[in-house]
Structures are given as C-alpha cells and as structure tokens.
Symmetry: C2
Subunit: 208 residues, 2 copies
DNA sequence: TCATTTATGTGTCAAGCGATACAGAATATA
DNA sequence: TATATTCTGTATCGCTTGACACATAAATGA
C-alpha cells in the first residue's frame, strides 16, 4: 500500500525552510498567514493540510532552527577541548550565526516570541523552555569541568552560566540593531575576558 | 482666554502611564486599541483626541519611560564617582528596574518593537535610535574617564561600551524569562569582573 | 440667553487576521 | 474503467484591527 490520492505539488521541507526564515525575521505574531503564503508560495489550505495550523508550523520551524542554525552553536560547544574554549566557541559561533549574510539577524528562539499578548502565551512559553535548555546545557558543561578537576568547586557556576547566556541573548538584540560580525566578536572577547576572574572566585563570592 | 469647551473627564497623565505599562508588557504590535481602552479606561475617540494615534501614544509612552524608569538608570550612572562605578551602577540599577514588583519586566525600549513586520518599521527604528543613544552615553562616560586620566588610551572603548550595553540588553530578556533580581545582580557582578582585564588591554588588543 | 468650543459615548468603517467549505484535479487501488 | 483518496485553487467565513462619523453633553464667551 503506497501513497494514495493526489500527490503534494510543493516541497514540504523547502516550504518549511521558507516559513522558518519569515518567522525568524518577523517573529510569531509579526508573521501573518499572508506573509507565509507569499514566502512559501503555497496557498493557505495546503499549508493547513500539511502543517495543521500557524502554531504547529511555527513549532516545526523552531525545531528546524534548532537542528540547523542552533545545532551549529551546540556542536561547536561540545567539541571544544576545554570549558573555557567551549564558552568562547559558543559566543563566537553565535556571533557568526547571528550575522550570516542573507539570513535574518539574531536568534529565532530568543527573538521569536518575547511578549505575552492575547493569544500567543503558549508559543512564548515554549520558546522560554528552549532558552532555559540552553542555560542548562551550558551549566552542565561547566559542571563537567568541575567534575573533571579542570575547574574549582567554589564559584557560583549557575550565575556564571547565566551571565554567558545573557551575553549571548544580548547579542541577538545587537545583531537586530545592525551590529557587524566584527563588533559581536569583540563583545564575545570582552565576555571571555571575565573568565579568569570568575573562575578564581573566593569562598565569599568576591573576586580576588 | 482660559480653557474653552467641555473639559476632559480623565487624567491625561494617568492614562498615559497606564498606556505605557501596557506597551511595556506587550510591545507595540502586541498591544491593541482594545487593550489600551481597557487599561486607560477611556474610549477610543477620546484617546485619539488626546494623543492623535496609536503611534503617537506609543511615542509619548516611550518618552515617559525614558524620563522615569530609564532616567533612574541614567542619573545613577552620571553621579557615580568613577567610570567603573558608573558601569557597575548602570548594570545594578538596570537589574533592579527590570525586576520591580508590580511592573512589567525588562526594558520597554529594548523589548518594545524588535521585529520589522508590516506597518511598524517606523517605531522599530525610533526605539533603535534610543538604544543607540544608550551606547553613545556610556561611551562618552568612558571617554571622559580617558580624558581625565582615569583610564588608559589603548583599549577599544567602543567595543567595551558595546559589551556592557549587550549585557544590559540581555538582562531584559532574562528578566522577561523570570530571572530574579538576585540572579540579574549576579550577572552584573560577572560582567564587572571583566573590567580590570578589559582596561589593561595591550596595544595588540589581547588581554595581558 | 445663546452661540461657540471641546469632549464624550455609541456605533461603525474598510482592511486584515487565522482558518475552512467547497468543487475540481490528480493520483492509487479494485 | 470505476471508485476511493488526497491535494489544489477560489472564495469566503467570523472576528479583530486601527481609526473615525455622528449626535450629544458640558464648559466658556458674548
């Protein structure tokens, strides 16, 4: 029993990529079905048949973003030789991803649904969960460094992880405002400049 | 020749404050006239008579925000005894402002209109200008430190100013995601931990 | 007292929103 | 070839959006 009925006349994966870019550039609320119809070059009944709803389409777009763009940040982080290099790589690859020519600037997951207006509380919370996962993964990387003896046990690693995630998220806004790749890399360098001081925190929580 | 005609039956300043809080919480696009009518407790013809349009109302709301909430950050920065204290104060006051109980979290100017959907390009650009001004003011404070001999002439002060603004903007997103005031203050501490290293940058741009 | 001026509440406008009903077209199975 | 199945384009649904027309209410000035 193979495929029944009239075959789909458009490339579902390609259409999803287009949708992802529109959501990425304009956010969930800022993207209308008209925008999607134009970008995907697919009429709305076919979009609904293939993806279910605007909400479901956004969910798939976010999943695709995490696999592709977001995945490059993560994999770069996990293959780094040291904890410090992992953080540095995360920030530097983020700077590059957020300023790719021909692509929307900044991060879809950070900028996609920040406000809780009337109907989009669900999507906002889902992106919030994804953002929280980024923190968790960075924190796990730090704790691995501690477990392996690379890093001391004293510092507030959660605070440090939060700091670097905050810098990364701020870079999304900077990218949206037109910051160059070079400028974002300089921001990453500045953040890394804090590392040595942060790692050598004393018991009382103050820098040496 | 005093006031002619029927007097206004609502407090314009109070209604503007209410509007500001709605825009602050939901953004420009995310806020509908229905939301404003409900929050301000004023019917739409009266809103249009008093403020002109949704766009003009948002403009006034942003101006009010800058005078009040934003003003507290700036004045704290200008009265600081040293450049380092100015930056530290800016970040710490930001952490406090972004987590005031009973108020929307994060910064109206940072979060108010990030996307360029169909009709709001004008407001996005205006907020962008305001954000650029924040960078300019911080940079001027740094250059003052250099001029007064407090700081050396070598470091890329624009990059350093951009770094601290990036942290501040990232804090808006963190605040939106529910970060506690304590957590944001810890982020500020981490950012400040970078200061000494940044100030002592060598000619070649690498840390000592 | 009465014209003038300004603000108010009711009701509504055209346009756009997300989502579908429907009939026809294109495939697989029987 | 006949039938069942699935996708396509047209056209439109009910609803919300930002904005405003209109008649009325409440003030001042002559």
């Amino acid at each position: 029993m193979t495929q029944r009925g009239r075959p789909r006349s458009f490339d579902r994966a390609a259409a999803l990529r287009r949708a992802m870019e529109v959501f990425w550039a304009q956010g969930y609320d800022g993207t209308s079905m008209s925008n999607l119809i134009a970008a995907m070059n697919v009429n709305s009944p076919s979009i609904y048949a293939a993806f279910g709803s605007k909400e479901a389409l956004f969910r798939e777009a976010v999943a695709l973003y995490r696999e592709t763009e977001g995945g490059r940040i993560l994999s770069a982080m996990t293959t780094a030789p040291s904890t410090r290099a992992a953080i540095e790589t995360m920030l530097r690859v983020s700077a590059e991803e957020y300023t790719r020519p021909g692509k929307p600037r900044g991060c879809l997951i950070v900028l996609g649904a920040l406000h809780a207006d009337d109907g989009n509380e669900v999507m906002r919370r889902e992106l919030q969960v994804h953002r929280a996962e980024s923190l968790t993964m960075l924190l796990q990387r730090l704790k691995r460094g501690v477990a392996e003896g690379e890093l001391p046990n004293g510092p507030d690693w959660r605070a440090i992880a939060t700091f670097y995630i905050t810098v990364q998220q701020g870079m999304s806004i900077q990218a949206r405002d037109g910051a160059t790749r070079k400028a974002l890399l300089a921001v990453a360098d500045c953040a890394i400049a804090a590392w040595d001081g942060l790692v050598s925190y004393r018991r009382d929580g103050r820098a040496l």
